[in-house]
Amino acid sequence: MEFIKAENLTFEYHKTDDAGQEMSTRAVNNISFSIEKGSFTAIIGQNGSGKSTLAKNMNALLIPTAGKIYVDGIDTSEIDRIWDVRQKVAMVFQNPDNQIVSAIVEDDVAFGPENTGVDPAEIRQRVDAALSWVEMFDYRKKAPHLLSGGQKQRIAIAGAVAMEPDCIVFDEPTAMLDPAGRAEVMNIIRKLNARGITAILITHFMEEAAQADYVLVMDDGKIKMEGSPLEIFRRTDELKDLSLDVPAPVALADKLREEGIDLPEDILTTDRLVEELIK
C-alpha cells in the first residue's frame, strides 16, 4: 500500500532580489512517485537538487505550488488537515543543535505530543519509551548542549518517535556527525523501520543509501533514477554524470572483477564483500 504519493509535484521558491526583481527557483519540478507503507527509501542527489524541498513537501511544511502530494490519502494542501499530516510524518533535520527546543532532554522529547494535546500521563509514557528506544533514557534529565552530536541527534529522533508518526523523514541526519555518531543514528533508523515506521532518508553517504529498500536519485528538481540499491548502484556511469559516487564496497568489487576475480553482482555492503572474498 502506498503511504506517500506525489502527482506532478512542483515547488517554486519566490523571492525578490536586491534589484527588486521577482525571482523564482523551481526546486522540485513536476515529479511523480509513491512510497510504500513500511518501506525504507533513500533519496540521494547533489547539493541544491531539491531533496530538502521535497522532504518539506511531505509534511506540509511547504505546500506544492503545482501538482499534489498525498500523505496516507490526505491532500497536504487542505489547510485544516495540516496537523494530521505533520503528526503522521515527523521530521529529523541535519543540524542537531537547531532542532532541540528545551533545556532538558525529556522536556524536549515531550514537546511534540504536548503540541498535539496528548494527555499528560500518556506523554510521560511516550517520552520514556522513546528515550529508551534511542538508548538515551539515562540522559533524560541532562541539558542537551552537554551531549555529543550523535546523542543530540538521537534526542531529536526520540522527539519524532514520541509523536507516534507513521513515517519519519530524515534530512541528512548524519551529515554533521563523526563516524561513531553516524553508525548509531543509522542503527536507530533501521530499528525504527523494522518496527514498521516508514523511513525516508536523505543522505550524501552512499553506504547509507545502500541500506534502504529503494533509492530515488534527484537532480535539478527531477527524479533521474529510481530502483533498488542494487539496480541503482550498478549504473556507475550515470551516477558519475550526476556527480554521485557508488558505495565504496561496490566500487571495490567492480575493480576486483576487472582483475578477474569472480564475484556475484549483488554486493552492496562491506560485510557481504568480505564474506564473498573469504569463501
Binding site: 496537523w83 527546543v101 515531550a110 494535546g117 542537551p144
Partner: protein, 266 residues
C-alpha cells in the same frame, strides 16, 4: 572560559524544594528579594541567612553549584564594597591622603555585601531547583491574567524557554568565533576603547548571522513538531498546587513575618 557562565542552570533533583509548584517559588523569590531590602539591621540578615541555609540543605544542591552562580558577580560585589568603604563620610578610622575609611562606610559596605550575596544565592536557588520548563510555565501562569489586556503570556514564556535552551549554544558559538578570529590574527586585548570596540565587530556580525540561522532552523523544526501557538497544548508536567505547597507557603509567611517584626521592633 565563557562557557562556564551558569546562567539559569538547573540542578536535577527530587527534593521537596524541587517538587514545589514553580509559581510558589517564583513569588517567594520575589518577596524574599523585597524582604532583603526591608532589612535594616544585621539580625534581619541572620533570619534570611538561616532561611536560605535551610532551603539549600533541603534542596540537596551541592555548595559547588551555589558558588558557581556567585563567581561571575564577584567583581561587581567587590566594586560595590570598595565604593562604599571609601565614599561614605562619618567617623574616620583610617586616613591616607584623600582616602579615608569611616565606621559608617565599613558598616554600609558590609551591609550591601551581605545583601547582594544573599540576593544572588536566593535567586540562583530558584533556577537551580526549578526545571526551565517549570520556570517558564510558572511565569506563563502568573502572567496569564494579564492576557486580557493584551499581554502575550504564552509567547513570552516560549521565548524564555528558547532563550534558556540557546544561551549555552550561542556562548559556544561566540567562543568558536573568537578563536577563529584570533587564529586569523585578530587582537582583542590591546588598544584603546574605540579600537577594542571595533575589534568586536568581526565577532558580532558572524554571531548575528548564526543566531538568525538557528532561529530559522528552529522555527521550521518547531512547526514540523506541530507547534501552533497555545491552541490545544497540554503539558507533561502540569503545575499543580498540593498540600506541600500550602505548607511551604505557610513557612514562607512565617519568614516574612519575622523580617517585618524585626524591622518594626529593632
Amino acid at each position: 572560559m565563557i562557557r562556564d557562565i551558569t546562567l539559569g542552570q538547573y540542578y536535577p533533583g527530587n527534593s521537596w524544594i524541587h517538587k514545589l509548584d514553580p509559581r510558589i517559588k517564583i513569588i517567594a523569590t520575589l518577596l524574599y528579594i523585597v524582604a532583603l531590602f526591608v532589612v535594616r539591621e544585621f539580625t534581619g540578615f541572620i533570619v534570611a541567612f538561616v532561611a536560605l541555609e535551610a532551603v539549600i540543605i533541603i534542596s540537596g544542591v551541592p555548595r559547588k553549584f551555589i558558588w558557581k552562580g556567585l563567581k561571575p558577580v564577584i567583581l561587581i560585589i567587590a566594586f560595590t564594597l570598595i565604593i562604599n568603604i571609601f565614599m561614605i563620610k562619618g567617623e574616620v578610622l583610617w586616613q591616607l591622603g584623600f582616602l579615608q575609611i569611616t565606621r559608617e562606610g565599613l558598616r554600609t559596605a558590609a551591609f550591601m555585601g551581605i545583601r547582594l550575596v544573599l540576593l544572588i544565592i536566593g535567586s540562583s536557588l530558584l533556577t537551580l531547583t526549578t526545571r526551565p520548563i517549570g520556570l517558564t510555565d510558572g511565569i506563563e501562569a502568573l502572567l496569564s491574567p494579564f492576557r486580557k489586556i493584551g499581554l502575550p503570556a504564552h509567547e513570552l514564556a516560549m521565548m524564555m524557554t528558547i532563550a534558556l535552551r540557546f544561551i549555552p549554544t550561542l556562548l559556544e558559538e561566540t567562543d568558536k568565533i573568537i578563536k577563529a578570529q584570533q587564529a586569523r590574527g585578530a587582537d582583542f586585548e590591546s588598544g584603546n576603547i574605540i579600537r577594542r570596540a571595533k575589534a568586536l565587530v568581526p565577532i558580532l556580525v558572524p554571531l548575528f548571522i548564526s543566531a538568525f540561522r538557528i532561529a530559522q532552523d528552529l522555527a521550521m523544526a518547531m512547526e514540523a513538531r506541530c507547534y501552533g501557538g497555545n491552541v490545544k497544548r497540554t503539558r507533561m508536567n502540569e503545575i499543580k498546587m498540593g498540600s506541600r505547597d500550602l505548607a511551604a507557603s505557610l513557612l514562607f509567611a512565617a519568614f516574612l513575618a519575622m523580617i517585618i517584626l524585626q524591622r518594626v521592633l529593632l
